[in-house]
């Protein structure tokens, strides 16, 4: 009998002492949707009234504030407004400074009445200054990866200037900027100028090849734009890629949905929409040199020609013409982008090294130790084929 009682006790202990006990009512949760991380700058300290008082209180506080490195902004929505009751601003924005990210989070609990909840975080914005600091970026990535509640589908973006400003702006359709960005990134028909790079990709790519791209976010008072990207290598941001360059990189990585491109054929500007049907990278060794080759095939339709040019877009010769010109144009653009990435940044964004490691391990054994020198000097071969499948309907 004693044994049985013991068994019940142990079972009870297992049942009641495991599991998650942090019961917080949903209306007491502050759903942090956006996080902005900036480098701390002396001038911006003591923005908050409370901080001001705190700092004027004594030397110890001042000494502490000298050790501040981060300025982190959290935003969470006014849920009452969403449910149609309550009033006030659509978003609550809180900024605090601190030595590290967790420090800031804990400091903020002295100013926020709800429990900060990161399970629904949609957007992390990093300021350019912070992104260019190797130690900081490593710390940030580690903190993000270590957190169990942050998902891998989060959008991590980098902005010129202050990240905080991105969270402060309110785009008209959805006042919560993080939700706005989430919806924007989930659009089916979005342009290839927005890089397809979420947090999961960035972390994996950083682990594998030590390089990654992160989308660039630009904001004004009431307008936000996501286009272009930042190139990350060796745990810091090297520089930017423009919108078209981003698109070309996406083609190389075979991650586009559709691209828009125009060529001039017979003096008529012909706008086309192309979809990628093939984007295959091969890396091999030829005469002791590493060669990276891309086979790219695009197909699509003519979107715009010229009104009242009879038969204009139907003639076989015209279509062939368009196809060759498209291929040439694309090839030139893609090549120049690849060379910029290869020579200027030396960033293996297409993951050629990873390809070697997985599919050509014997070559990889030879080159892996000085891949950083070999990659910029590798030969590149790009073949582009374009096909027009539809020309639209005219009369």
């Amino acid at each position: 009998m004693a044994k049985g009682k013991m068994g019940i006790l142990i079972l009870g202990v297992i049942c009641f002492l495991s599991g998650c006990w942090d019961k917080v009512e949903i209306d007491k949760q502050a759903f942090v949707l956006g996080i902005a991380i900036d480098k701390f700058e002396k001038e911006e300290k003591a923005q908050q009234k409370a901080d001001l008082e705190m700092e004027s209180n004594g030397a110890r506080e001042t000494e502490e504030s000298a050790r501040n490195r981060y300025s982190v902004t959290f935003t969470y929505p006014n849920t009452g407004l969403i449910a149609g009751k309550g009033e006030g601003d659509p978003n609550f924005i809180f900024t605090s400074v601190g030595e590290n990210l967790n420090d800031v989070r804990k400091l903020l609990t002295s100013r926020i009445d709800s429990n900060l909840y990161f399970g629904h975080t949609k957007l992390i914005v990093i300021g350019e200054e912070a992104a260019k600091d190797t130690v900081m970026l490593r710390e940030i990535f580690d903190a993000i990866e270590r957190s169990p509640s942050l998902g891998r589908k989060i959008d991590l973006m980098i902005t010129r200037g202050k990240a905080k400003e991105v969270l402060s702006c309110s785009p008209p359709p959805t006042p919560a900027v993080a939700l706005f960005i989430r919806d924007l990134m989930m659009q089916q028909s979005r342009t290839a100028r927005i890089p397809d790079a979420d947090l999961g990709y960035i972390l994996r790519s950083m682990h594998e090849s030590n390089t990654a791209i992160a989308p660039r976010i630009i904001c004004s008072e009431d307008d936000v734009k996501v286009a272009g990207c930042a190139v990350l290598k060796d745990f810091k941001m090297l520089g930017w890629l423009g919108e078209l360059e981003t698109r070309n990189l996406m083609i190389l990585m075979n991650k586009t949905r559709s691209i828009q491109i125009a060529v001039k054929v017979d003096g008529v500007e012909t706008g086309c929409e192309l979809r990628q049907s093939l984007g295959k990278m091969k890396v091999f060794e030829r005469d002791g040199e590493i060669v990276i080759s891309f086979a790219i095939e695009m197909e699509g339709e003519v979107e715009q020609h010229m009104f009242e040019i009879r038969q204009g877009a139907y003639i076989d010769k015209f279509i062939k013409n368009v196809e060759t010109q498209l291929a040439q144009e694309l090839k030139a653009q893609i090549e120049s982008t690849f060379i910029k990435i290869q020579k200027e940044y030396g960033a293996d964004l297409v993951q050629a090294g990873e390809y070697l490691r997985k599919f050509q391990p014997d070559i990889w054994e030879k080159v892996k130790d000085n891949w950083d020198e070999i990659f910029p000097n590798a030969e590149v071969e790009i073949t582009v084929k374009a096909a027009i499948r539809r020309v639209g309907t005219v009369r």
Binding site: C15, F16, S18, G19, C20, D22, K23, V24, E25, I26, D27, Q29, F31, L33, P77, T79, G80, L81, I82, A83, G84, K85, G86, Y117, G119, H120, K122, S149, L179, R182
Partner: protein, 528 residues
Amino acid sequence: MDFFKELFSKKKNNPREKIPVKKDYHENLDRIKEILAGTDDVVYREFKVGKQQKMHFATIFIDGLADKDLLNESVLKSLMLLSRMAELDLHSLREKVYEVIRDAALSVSDMREVEEINEAVDNILSGETLLIFDNWEKIVVIATKKWPSRGVTEPSTETVIRGAQEGFTETMRMNTALIRRRIRDPKLCIKQMQIGRRSKTDVAVIYIEEIVNKAVLKMVKERLDYIDIDNIMESGYIEQLIEDEWRSPFPQIQHSQRPDVVAAALYEGRVVILVDNTPFALIAPATITALLQSPEDYYERFFIASAIRLLRYFSLGTALLLPAIYIAITSYHPGMLPTSLALYVAGSRNNVPFPAFIEAFIMEGAIELLREAGIRLPAPIGATIGIVGGLVLGQAAVEAGIVSPLMVIVVALTAMAAYSTPSYSFAIAFRLLRFMLMAAAAFLGLYGVMLALLMILTHLCNLKSFGVPYLSPYAASSTTFNDFKDSFIKVSLRFMQKRPQYLHREDSTRLKKNPIEPAGEEDEDEQK
């Protein structure tokens, strides 16, 4: 356990004293009068027969239970008037009065004789009429049972759109007739017995000889024999006294008010117990599939029937889990909701003063109150209570900010889902378990819900109804593929050739020949 032992222990043997019928008319009459001393509703009609008025006769019956018209027309009239007209040689008749009466005088269809006074008294009490007369050491019992009874009406608790609209009544004889009309098989056995030391309630065990599960039948008969109770008010008494596990919230015996459901169960090999004075027949063994099906499933086309069955299983889950999941998710796992919904839920709960658990308990409690009030109130006011309670209260509670609008939706959905379960007694089991799950969710979140669900599932797997696993055919060793044809879906009738295998029976073939296929198509099923 002691309770059980006591309940099922062998009957204490206290056989009633046997009083043989004497030859003396007056002695017999006095004996009966003595036994029925306090019963003023007994009518003693004494009269004399024959030209000389020398033979003493008496009829004894209970006013209200016996058919007086029949007595007047066929017994009294023929004995008192017609026998006088017939010129009978009384002397030669003196020794064989009974033969004459039986063969020539009484024009009633059903009569028999008893030799013991107490048995005769039992017959009086169940509505028969006694005929006693001089010089004969037996008592004639004339079947005159007739009392005011409700006619066959639509069963109020199990209504269907399609199917027979007649239900059982309180008179057992009518109920057996309703069953017999559906099974014109000499193998349909109706074994009658009386249970209840004082009530002497008629109980009938009904089964089809070649189809029935013998083990179940044996168990039913044994357990019925063990019952030693003073009265049986309703079939619920029998149900509670013979069920396998009294601690379980789940009904282990199905009950039904519909003769077609009962007949179908008999054809499946189950045993039916009819109890006098109640329109509810008991069906044993009960399995989860039987409790979750409606007779209409078999009458409608199988696509629709299957879809509706799946809906029922789904609604069962809803009725059990929805409030618990609401509590668990809003209190412990807000990350499981899509972001927009999480924000909306958080917003709608803004300023609600109670935690989700208390909120859910208030609303679920209110709904239970509403149901209970709805049953008690007379029908015309019942509808009003539904509107006042449901609409006004819910609306007012939301507007006052005591509960969130989402909670009202959850409660309403739960109530609807609970009502869609065909078996009332099965549904109320889930009603109770729902509160247990809500408490588990409030303490341990989804983890607690899963723990509680596992407990329920373990219990259900362990539960047996007369030796047949409750979860048949889902969790039973004797299940065959064939049984799944009539489980959470129901295939077309033409493919249901076998009766449920988990009830192991002899004649297992249900459908021997398939309907004629349209010309030109292969008739491959016919060979099966």
